[in-house]
């Protein structure tokens, strides 16, 4: 019973991080129809920025905020000056470009920050909380992880649903030409979308890094899980990304807890294949709209 609870709690925490990462992928896919393979090294770079700030003697929180801002800026710069050239072109161009960025950013991090493991601090305890005699598998940092992801998602929903900028961003993603005719500066909205996605990716990277070791490749497996979660949710649906992330986190946690951690990657691949075979549009695929 206790193992079941701990496995579920661990899965939930990890699932929140996958959800955040999947959400970052979905935000970019929705607006530019590009799968951003460079999401992992972009997020990794900002974690190293945080580490540099913390190592310079500033608090964890200053490092945290600086990393998120760095993510925002990096996303904007990459969209405006690199990705802009392949938007609207053949899909393969964008795939090659983001894969190229993956390699370039990786190499950059190795050169600037060193290709070795470094420990990353956590602002809250990373040991299980004790309830009476037993220790449950939920840490202070785990609670922070869940809260942080929920807060950022809540803010994003509020931005998209209730503000003029959010409406302009959605219009640009759904129908760029009509949006232009209605006076929306679509290019600017795409830049903003990439910036926000990169911020969410940075958050996921900071949460994975907390209390553990980081090196230039530490996010690479997460981009795979984030991608599986996004496909699970239908790639087009932010809500789907979140639910997909949670489902994947729970599933992988149970695989790891009951079958063995060496099977986790295989299980993720199995889930991906099952979704693509049985429900290629994802669990949250919207019904085809009525054509009139």
């Amino acid at each position: 019973m206790q193992q079941l609870l701990n496995t579920a709690l661990g899965g939930l925490t990890l699932g929140m991080v996958y959800a955040a990462f999947a959400l970052a992928l979905v935000l970019i896919w929705r607006s530019t129809r590009i799968v951003n393979f460079a999401q992992a090294p972009m997020a990794m770079l900002t974690t190293f920025v945080a580490l540099t700030v913390i190592d310079a003697g500033y608090s964890y929180w200053i490092g945290f905020v600086v990393a998120l801002l760095a993510g925002l800026a990096l996303g904007a710069v990459i969209e405006r000056f690199v990705v802009r050239h392949v938007e609207g072109g053949p899909e393969i161009n964008a795939v090659i470009l983001t894969l190229g960025l993956f390699i370039v950013l990786h190499a950059l991090a190795s050169v600037v920050f060193g290709n070795r493991y470094r420990s990353f601090p956590a602002p809250f305890g990373i040991r299980g909380i004790e309830v009476g005699e037993t220790t449950i598998g939920l840490t202070g940092f785990g609670i922070f992880t869940v809260v942080a992801v929920l807060v950022v998602m809540g803010l994003l929903v509020a931005l998209f649903r209730f503000t003029d900028v959010g409406l302009r961003m959605r219009a640009s993603a759904f129908n760029p030409e009509v949006a232009r005719l209605l006076g929306v500066k679509v290019g600017r909205m795409l830049t903003l979308g990439w910036a926000l996605a990169a911020l969410v990716g940075s958050l996921a990277a900071l949460l994975i890094a907390g209390g553990s070791l980081v090196h230039p490749g530490y996010m690479d497996s997460i981009v795979v899980y984030g991608f599986v979660a996004a496909v699970l949710g239908g790639l087009d649906s932010p809500l789907g990304a979140v639910v997909g992330g949670l489902l994947l986190g729970l599933s992988l946690s149970f695989v790891s807890g009951y079958l063995g951690s060496e099977l986790v990657a295989l299980a993720a691949l199995g889930i991906l294949m099952a979704v693509l075979l049985l429900r290629p549009g994802g669990l949250f695929a919207q019904a085809q709209e009525r054509r009139v």
């Binding site: 409406l167 030409e177 009509v178 949006a179 232009r180």
Partner: protein, 234 residues
């Protein structure tokens, strides 16, 4: 109001418009007629800045808008309702209208939408429904209403009757006639259905293979048998 002079537009090697000149008078409806491929849609897309012309000029009042990007047009008072309706189907009716209002560059208040709901009660009843649930006629009402949200002085309409029942087309044309009469709106209307377009329009321009072949008052065009048979198909 809208003055087009020597406008030439190409898609790669294909000339879609060749040396097109005409004027759309303020407070009048000008119909642009012609067969499929005559360049009607290209004309509207060039005027609204979606396509860059090779040469020639477009003046909106005093402004030379030949090189103005599409997203700057609503603030200048130009609204373009594209062919195929242009409803953003994933957004709700209220959101589509709100977006139209943002084009003016001012905040949109809840009351601003009521004017459109008064014109089209069917939209008001379903304001929170997603636009993909609307029928073709309702979509046409929504895009016209959305264009009006920006309080334009010039309205470009591309094939508003396409695929709609005669009754609904008549209803939308009657509304346009009222707006022109009451508010001095200028309309540039592209239509394949020449008969109904000329019934609404004050003035008509006939395009054939990208060139202007006739430019006259609507009743003159409608009364010219040779022109009707050659280009207008009725």
């Amino acid at each position: 109001m809208l003055r087009i002079e020597g406008l030439t537009t190409s898609y790669g090697p294909v000339r879609a418009l060749q040396d097109v000149s005409f004027t759309a008078e303020r407070g009048k409806v000008t119909a642009v007629l012609g067969a499929n491929g005559a360049g009607k849609t290209t004309l509207l897309r060039t005027v609204s800045g979606l396509v860059r012309p090779d040469s020639g000029s477009v003046h909106l009042g005093e402004h030379d808008i030949s090189r103005t990007p599409a997203e700057a047009m609503p603030a200048l008072g130009l609204a373009h309702v594209p062919e195929g309706r242009g409803v953003i189907t994933e957004l709700t009716i209220a959101e589509n209208l709100h977006l139209g209002g943002l084009g003016r560059g001012r905040k949109v208040k809840a009351g601003d939408l009521d004017r459109v709901y008064d014109l089209f009660p069917v939209l008001g009843e379903r304001r929170e429904a997603r636009a993909h649930t609307l029928s073709g006629g309702e979509r046409q009402m929504l895009v016209v209403g959305r264009a009006l949200m920006a309080e334009p002085s010039l309205l470009l309409l591309d094939e508003p009757s396409l695929g709609l029942a005669q009754r609904i087309t008549a209803q939308i044309f009657a509304l346009l006639r009222d707006l022109v009469a009451e508010e001095g709106l200028t309309v540039l209307l592209v239509e394949q259905n020449a008969r109904s377009a000329l019934s609404l329009a004050d003035h008509g321009v006939v395009l054939n293979l990208g060139r202007v072949v006739a430019d006259d008052r609507a009743e003159v065009l409608a009364g010219d048998d040779q022109l009707r048979h050659a280009y207008l198909g009725f």
